[in-house]
Amino acid sequence: MADRYQQLINTPVGKILSKQIGLPSPVTLQRYEPGQPVIDGPVLFGAAAGSTLTPAIAQTLASAEAEVRTPLQEEARQAAADAGIEAGIFNPETADEADRFKAVVFDASGIADPADLVEAYEFFHATIRRVGANGRVIVLGRPPDQIEDPQRHVAQRALEGLTRSMGKEVRRGSTSQLVYVAETAEAEIESTLRFFLSPKSAYVSGQVVRIGQAVSTWDGVDWERPLAAKVALVTGASRGIGESIAEVLARDGAHVVGVDVPAQEAQLSEVTGRLGGSALTLDITDEDAPEQIAAHLQDNHGGVDVVVHNAGVTRDKTLGRMTDDLWRMVIDINLRAPHRIDEALFRRQAVRENGRVVLVSSISGIAGNAGQTNYSTSKAGIIGMVEAYSGPLSERACTINAVAPGFIETQMTAAMPIATREAGRRMSSLQQGGLPVDVAETIAWFANPASAGVNGNVTRVCGQSLIGA
């Protein structure tokens, strides 16, 4: 689904024009269709000397049935062999000019001091121009704040500048991420690596994700239907991003309980009916709404596995003009309601083992936005919720994470003035707006039972927007 500028720029004439006068040239992003392989092209898998994440990475690549090549690097080749991968060899000196990779994955965990960073340089220097369209660059390291040795801490932290810059260099729909994996959390990387390799992460770039100890044990998942037999609550499910979240979670096998205000009842029922889920109409800011939701989930489903707080509103006014009720309304719906609902669900122990709370923040919550003091405050508060609760909830075998959407094509953005809209679209590495499904896929990654080690993350779904970066 390309916007008009994108359609124009991808015509032969448009291509010439964009090249001649340096216009942004967004490509049509590849997005996931059920039944597709995780990744539909060769993966180059490299490692710095002494890296220790290679076995876990190789196991994921094997399980994803990826076609793998590695440089002549000991750790990478040994890991590939141990994972049963018939990995080809990539030697930049002898490789064909035309060799391209769909993904380039580099284990940087062995980089112990700033001088060793040259290993990452050498690897990507020889390979970054071989990343094909809709390609993926993924660097894995160790969380700096958990490293005692200052030199190693500095080196691992430095990777962030590399991956964020590569995100801005790769272009043609390609993305770049950094994944920090805690010691002994190696077994938890598969859901994250699969997500970032696949077209599901089409609009996610320049992100840093932390993987820690699993909050709960989990038995293998069916990667086609990871949420089979799970119950997912989605607020604001009747339209826009919420509808898309409901669709993707249902696609992944979940029974979706959609929540929306009574005024949206017809639309909500249409959505949940189509998805084989169920509808619950109430105003989440009502005093007894949290109790009602908790009771509904316990009475009808015996509890809930995934809670997605998507419902949100904007009521834009500059602060001086903003009325008290506009402030309160936005804070109540966007921030207080999720908080109150969670409080009720956990008090009543309605969230089952290996549960998930997923919040929806916003790029405005990170960067701030003129005319959106109320909205930005609520969305920054959401980030606060992730920070405040990731510890306590992990003790209850539950993770809490947030997505922070950037410019997502919805009815809301369609109503924007054209200049604001165009700026929003183009001012990102991917040079276009995202789609509701991009937010939904990111939420589905958090919701996956295999994401038990993904806790306390705020992941932007913004095409690496220049705003708030």
């Binding site: 590695t70 062999a81 060899i89």
Partner: protein
């Protein structure tokens, strides 16, 4: 070889190898191999001797040479009652003949025999054009003269161009060099490494001549005293100047790090210990065991010349040896890239675990033990004669090193085959 008797290698000899259309341009396979048999007879006093058998072969052979080896025996100083037969297993021919003769010695079927091989790329068989051949055969079958005359009118001038034998795989249409270029790319073998191996090969062979080490192994022929291809003064710098000949413009394979088309012959005397003792001929080495292998380079896309990489680990497993348990490695240098691909494969966990089914890589070899007196890159490679050259050289190396020393032979062959063997000092 699970033998009832040990198979003794008594020694070998060869003529210097020449480049295509060089000094042996007029020499036929028969000429060269007969001369080589006579040289061997001279060396071991076999004149008039009736041996168990002579097995030899040529890769490029005229149809009239259907009994090439037997004809050579009849033309040689050996007893005319010595039976003979031809073997052809591409570049593996020379080593394969050693194995077949050795096998019969082991089983007690014969007491002594000669193994060898010869090839000429100069006096090569030309085949007539396939369309012309069909017309001529049809005319031959036809009974009526009128029909015959009609058929002959179908002959066109273009059909008079003969078919020149090509060094290409029938099932892929790719030459061996092109196949090896694919392997080199797959294994990431760079130009510099190939050139270095080639230069070392020349320097080591030159030293072997200079020190007289080859005096007993090479008999001058048609005025040629040393291998014509040998460039004692070559260097990495000189090699680096050559243009790629395989693998496209940015290919890594040149005429310098690939073997040239060559002419030459070699022969080896193999016998039971009793036979050798009776004649007072010292045993140089024993042929311990051998293994051949094939790879599917057509459908499974394994490298054409990777078969030895599969054969050797089977051999090692059978004898509970590690790849490092050898004093000498004689790896046929069809192309420097072939040797380097093989060595890299043995060091590679993915290849060793996934394709060979081993728990861990075979590991690196001590490169100072590789082709210590030079290899095919320097000597040249008359296809079927290479095996005999290598067996004779290794037997001499083992004899010099003394009891307990052990050597490995690895020869790649067209058709995705490999012939490998283990020899031990006597």
């Amino acid at each position: 070889m699970n033998s009832s008797r040990r198979v003794a290698v008594l020694g070998g000899i060869r003529i210097p190898f020449a480049r295509q259309n060089g000094p042996y341009a007029q020499a036929s396979n028969q000429d060269m191999f007969t001369a080589t048999l006579d040289a061997l007879s001279e060396k071991f006093g076999l004149q008039g001797e009736v041996l168990g058998e002579v097995a030899a072969g040529a890769v490029l052979k005229h149809s009239r040479d259907f009994n090439l080896t037997r004809e050579c025996v009849l033309g040689s100083k050996l007893g005319a009652e010595t039976p003979a037969y031809d073997v052809q297993q591409a570049c593996g021919t020379g080593l394969e003949t050693t194995l077949t003769v050795g096998g019969k010695v082991a089983l007690g079927q014969i007491e002594a025999g000669i193994a060898g091989g010869v090839d000429t790329t100069s006096d090569a068989p030309l085949a007539i054009n396939e369309d012309l051949r069909e017309i001529l055969l049809e005319a031959y079958r036809t009974k009526s003269n009128v029909e015959r005359a009609k058929l002959l009118t179908k002959i066109r001038p273009t059909q008079l161009v003969p078919e020149i034998p090509r060094n290409a795989e029938p099932r892929t249409g790719l030459s061996m060099g092109e196949h090896t270029a694919i392997m080199a790319k797959e294994w990431g073998i760079g130009r510099a490494d190939q050139d270095e191996l080639a230069v070392e090969s020349h320097h080591k062979l030159a030293a072997a001549y200079d020190t007289g080490w080859l005096d007993d192994l090479v008999l001058p022929y048609l005025g040629q005293e040393r291998d014509q291809n040998l460039r004692p003064d070559t260097s990495v710098e000189k090699m680096a100047k050559l243009k790629p000949v395989f693998g496209g413009e940015d290919g890594t394979m040149t005429a310098g790090n690939s073997t040239p088309l060559s002419d030459g012959a070699s022969a080896v005397l193999i016998a039971s210990e009793e036979w050798a003792n009776e004649r007072g001929i010292p045993v140089q080495a024993y042929l311990v065991d051998a293994q051949t292998a094939g790879v599917d380079y057509v459908h499974k896309r394994e490298g054409l010349l990777m078969a030895p990489a599969y054969a050797v680990p089977r051999l090692l497993a059978r004898h509970e040896l590690s790849l490092q348990d050898f004093d000498f490695y004689e790896i046929h240098e069809a192309f420097a890239a072939q040797v380097l691909c093989t060595l890299r494969a043995w060091e590679d966990p993915v290849f060793c675990q996934e394709r060979l089914g081993l728990k861990e890589p075979l590991g690196p070899i001590d490169r100072s033990k590789l082709n210590v007196h030079g290899g095919s890159l320097a000597a040249g490679h008359p296809f079927a004669a290479t095996g005999g050259r290598i067996v004779a050289a290794l037997a001499t190396e083992l004899q010099e090193k003394g009891p307990g020393s052990r050597g490995l032979i690895s020869i790649c062959a067209a058709g995705g085959m490999g012939v490998t063997a283990i020899m031990e000092a006597a």
